[in-house]
Structures are given as structure tokens and as C-alpha cells.
Symmetry: none
Subunit: 188 residues, 4 copies
DNA sequence: CATGAATGAGAGTTCATTCAT
DNA sequence: CATGAATGAACTCTCATTCAT
């Protein structure tokens, strides 16, 4: 395997297991079976490594979400597609999901947020824009896009969290029911 | 101020700000304006300090939740009472809420979980028991208590997370609407 | 039991078990079931405690040895009496013997030597004087008192060391044979 | 000079001067003119450093003693050879000798014994085996090998102790006379 | 004299990082 | 690009000792 790839996978796996601060450079290079200067050659610092680990998974994820969120579907279909995508994608990237969820609840002045906060901001922006767009068509949603996007994101994260614990089988039904329930909140 | 109290408050505030690992003992004692041996006199170790910080807030919280969850009200009233209590209580304990949320999403093998995981387990147990109890009365809830409790906990955490960002004013209406929405999911 | 006595016994027992530096004040007061200021009230410092522990046993020991060494017996009888006394006395003061032996081989600049070295010096002086005295009567011993006293002391310590390991039963025969052997070296 | 070697020499010298516990890592690295992580790079811990310091001198010593003790010479020649070797070797390794003697009289539950006790055990085994072997040829030695080896070891240590104080010149005569005296004890 | 609480100084150890080879 | 060795700074924690009560 390519060294760069190898290091990233190993590091992400360890970050997911123990968290950013609890993982030492030594531990990473041991498990990746490389040496420290090699790691520093590719990533410059621990911070750089963490950043690029996040980027590797966040980048395609945000791109796809952006695409889904700006498609021509109606808002409920979009939510279903997004939730479905997140869960399906998450199934194959559990290390990333764990790291992502930890990041979402990281303390505001933590290094994790300082390094990876921008990804969360972008994610929020995508969802907000989607709800802003939807509120043009659904009058009763007006002025509450922050509310909706935050709640929807909580719903996604909550589902991902349960995914990590293998608590349920994801199927179309789950996604449909969940979004339906959410939609009920909007119309009521 | 009492030293023990002083240390706990200072430490919790720092843990909330930066996270367990990123906070050093030195930083805590500096801000609390005491010395290291004093801290160790009371808490024995950083781990012990973290544990007792959690305990201080978790203990009454779990007790109250337990009381609410086992009261004679119907399940929807209980959910409203619990959510309301969590939000009201959380407003006055923001450092704890941040620490709690970070703990909820901490990596599975992290020290945070090793030390504070038991509190989360107890919280889960309380909610689960509540839904198990409710499923005796509501036939259509049968066999899904894990599902309900996990979702309800996600909803609580999502609300608390928004509370920390001062994103909304908590009022009876928010609580009612949120639980109502949740209930719709149950009956549908 | 008297507190002062209690502390000394406890401390000596711990010093014998682990050595001066490895024993903490905390450990002593725990085992003696008193508090730190009490210990400091009686002994002023850890150093003072160690000193007085040594003194308590060294004082009568040196007095008795001095008496035996300056008696009117011939040198061989004296050696037998001294060895016998050391062994008999040692049997009832094993904590002291262990501490004494450790002290004998302590590094030259160690605190142990700085505090307790004077007792060893006095012990050496007593033995040397004995052999100096003997050399007036035994011409062939002349000029070798340092040699004899050092060797005799090595013999005593070696016997005490074995006593601690319960390796032999002390009886008159052992003492007689040992000194006889030693005497052979003198005459040969 | 090689860093590893440098550290070991410096450390052994300090251990000999003040004892294991009284010497701090800081002191060692100061005198060796290196930094702490360098020391830990080579030895892992203070304990590891102490162990390897002992090993460096014990290893060849035990090998040579083993060779001498199992040679074809008679028991008296062997004792002379061993004593002679110990003294000659000791003259050039005074730091080790001091550390060795301190170790020999260290309290039973001390860290020194826990770390270095195995070397003393091996040394005892070598001497015991020698006397066991000798007792096949000398009937009157039978059943007393523990006795002989312990006494002989006491004699060696006593001689080494005097060597450290520069109390005598080692020559063939001293060794001959000492062993002769010891032998007299066996035959009498 | 007894106590719980407090302290300055320093213990051993590990961190992310860099350098010469 | 890979390596073993080296580093300054920071880490958690403990020491003997003292103070107000």
C-alpha cells in the first residue's frame, strides 16, 4: 500500500478509537510500521495529519451533499436522499464517522475544532442553504431554516451514532419513517 | 470559597472549554489560585478530579430523571417533563452540558468514556426503563424501546447542543412541539 | 503504647523493609496510626526520626560492646563474647540488624551515612581499641589491628546477615568454631 | 564518547556515590551532559538504567566466576582464584563494587533488590554449586555447602569493602592467607 | 499534643518535533 | 524518502514539611 494512504488510514483508525489527544505520533508510526520522519515528510505535523485525515473523507462527502442539496427534488426527497447517503456512506467509513461525531461535540476551544471546525461549518451551510431554498416554496417554513437545519443535523448525527453501535439495520423504511416524522413537525 | 468546590468549578469550566486531555493540572491550579498538592489532596489524580466533576452534576441529574421517569404520568407528559428539566437545568450548568455532550460522543476507548461511561449507561437505562414501562400500556410501542430511548436521547442532546450556542429560547411551546413531533413518529 | 515508642518501632520496621529513602513520612504515619504533625512534634524531621531510631538500638549495643571489649578476659574470649552477644541481641532486634547492615554498606555520600555514620565509627573504634590492647600481649599481632578489626567486623556482619535469613541456629559451638578459625589466622 | 556508554558510566558512578534513590534523573543527565529524552531513549526508565548498569558489570563477572568455579582445580585453588579475580577486577571497577555491596545489604523489599536480586541469586548459585561439587571429594564437607558458600561470600564482600577504603594492598599473600584460614575452618 | 489542609520544590516520564546521515 | 538519535517543553504526580485551628 501507498505510504501516505497507509498512514492516513492508520491514524484515522486510532483517532476514532481514542481521540486526537490520546493518540501519540509514536503509536501511529508503530502501527503503520513506518518511522517518524516519514510521517513528518508527508504531513508536516500531527495537526496536518489530522487535517488531511478529515479532508480525505469530508471532501467527497461535502461535495456529494452539496450536489444532493441543490438538486431539483423537493425538500422531503432531498432529506431522504441525504440521510440515506450519510448512512450508507457511513457504513463503510466507521472510523471517519466516529471521528466526525467526536468532532461535532468537541469543546469550542479544542484543537479538534480549530483544525476541523471549517468542515462542520461548511456542512451546516449546505443544510441551511437547502432549507432556505425550500422556504421559498413552503411558506410555513419561513424564518426557521436555522431551526430546521440544526434539528435535521441532530437527527443525522443521532442516526450515525446508532449506526456505530450496530443498533439497527438501515433500510429505506427507516429513512422514510424518520424523515416523515420530521416533516410532520414542519407542517404541524 | 471552599477549595474543593473552587477546584471543581474551575476544572469543569476548563474541561468544557478545551476537553479533558488538553487541560493540564498546572492550568487548573493556576486558574483556581491554589497549588498542585492541594488539588491532589482532594482528588488524588486528574482522573479522580474529572470523575468527581462529572459526579457532582450527574448525581442530582440522574436522581431527578429517575424520579420523573418513574412517575405516574403518561409517557408523553414524562417526555415533556424530562426534556423541560434537562433544558432548564442545562441553562444553569453550561460547563457541565458541554462536558456531557463531549463525553457522549467520545471515542469508545478514550479515558473520558472509561471514567464517565457509567453515567451515560445509567442515563440510558433510565430512559429505556421508561419506554419499556410505556410499552405495557401502548401496544404499538412494543419491542422498540431501544429505538425510542436512543432517538429521544438524540433529541435531548441535539436540543442541549443548540442551547449551548444560544440558538433558541426555551419555552413550553418548544418542548411541547418537539415531543409532539416525536409522538407522531410513534403513532404513525 | 507510648506514641514516641510506637513511631520509632513502626519507622524502624519500615526502614528495615524498604530502606530510608523508599519509606515516606506518609507511610509511617499511616502504619503508626498517627498524623504527620505528631511525628514532627517528636522527631523534628525524617532525618531526626532515622537518627533516633538508630540511637535507640545503637546506644545500649555500643555500651555493652565497650564493656565486653575492655574487660579483663583474653582476646579470644572477648571475641567470643562479642560475637555471641551480637547474635543473641540481633535475634530480638531483626529490624535493627537489617537497618544496621544496610547502613554498613551504604554509599559513602548517602544520607544514611551522613546521619548514622558516627555509630559505625564508634563501633570500629571499640573493636580497634580491643585489638590494639591485645597486641600488647600478643607480639605477633602488632601493627595489624586495623586488619583484625576489619576482618572481625566483616565476620560479625556476615553472621548477622545469615541470621536474618534464618540460615542457622546460633549456638555456642558456632561461635566457638568461628572465632577459633579466626584465631588460626592470627597465629599462622 | 558513545552516549549509551557515557550515560551508564555516569549513572553507575552516581549510584555508587549516593545510592539508587538519592540520585535523580536530572542529576545524571546534567553530569552526562545529555538530556532526559536521550536517557529514556536508551534505557526506558530509571529502573532500566539501573538494571543495565548492573548487567554491564555483572554479566562478565558471573561468566568468569562460573568458569573458575567449574574448572578442574581443587576447591582451595578455586577459592584462591575466585578471590583473586574478584579483588583484581574490583580494583578497576570501584563504582560497581560499591553498588554491588550496597545491593548485597539492601532491604529485602527494596527496589534495588527487586531489580538486581537475580544477579545475587546467580552468584550464590555458582558458589554453592562449587561447594556441592567439592563435597563429593571431601567427605567432611558434606551437608554444609550452604554454610561454606555463605561464609565465603561474606569473606569476599568483606575484602571488597576494605578494597574500597584502600585499606590494604592486594597481593598473592593476602589471598593465600585468607583462603588458608578459611580452609582451616573446614578441616578442623 | 492532635488535626486537616496547604505548600515549594522536584520527582520520573512523555510529548511533538528535528537533525545528521 | 528512510533511519536512529536527540531535543525543549510540558506532563502527572509525590516529596518532606508547616500552618491555623
Amino acid at each position: 500500500m501507498d505510504n501516505r494512504e497507509n498512514i492516513q488510514k492508520t491514524a484515522l483508525s486510532l483517532f476514532a478509537e481514542k481521540g486526537y489527544h490520546a493518540v501519540g505520533i509514536q503509536e501511529i508510526v508503530n502501527r503503520a510500521e513506518i518511522t517518524k520522519p516519514t510521517l513528518y515528510h508527508y504531513f508536516g505535523s500531527k495537526e496536518g495529519l489530522y487535517l488531511q485525515c478529515l479532508e480525505r473523507d469530508f471532501s467527497p462527502l461535502l461535495k456529494e451533499l452539496s450536489r444532493l442539496a441543490s438538486s431539483e427534488e423537493d425538500i422531503f426527497s432531498k432529506m431522504q436522499l441525504i440521510l440515506q447517503y450519510m448512512l450508507k456512506n457511513g457504513k463503510n467509513h466507521k472510523d471517519f464517522i466516529q471521528t466526525y461525531l467526536t468532532l461535532c461535540s468537541a469543546p469550542p476551544l479544542s484543537e479538534e475544532i480549530r483544525i476541523g471546525g471549517k468542515f462542520l461549518n461548511e456542512l451546516e451551510r449546505i443544510l441551511e442553504d437547502m432549507f432556505i431554498d425550500a422556504s421559498y416554496k413552503h411558506g410555513n417554513m419561513r424564518g426557521r431554516h436555522r431551526n430546521y437545519s440544526a434539528t435535521f443535523m441532530g437527527l443525522i448525527n443521532s442516526s450515525l451514532s446508532r449506526l456505530l453501535r450496530n443498533e439497527f439495520e438501515i433500510d429505506g423504511d427507516f429513512v422514510y419513517r424518520t424523515v416523515h416524522q420530521f416533516a410532520h413537525g414542519i407542517y404541524s
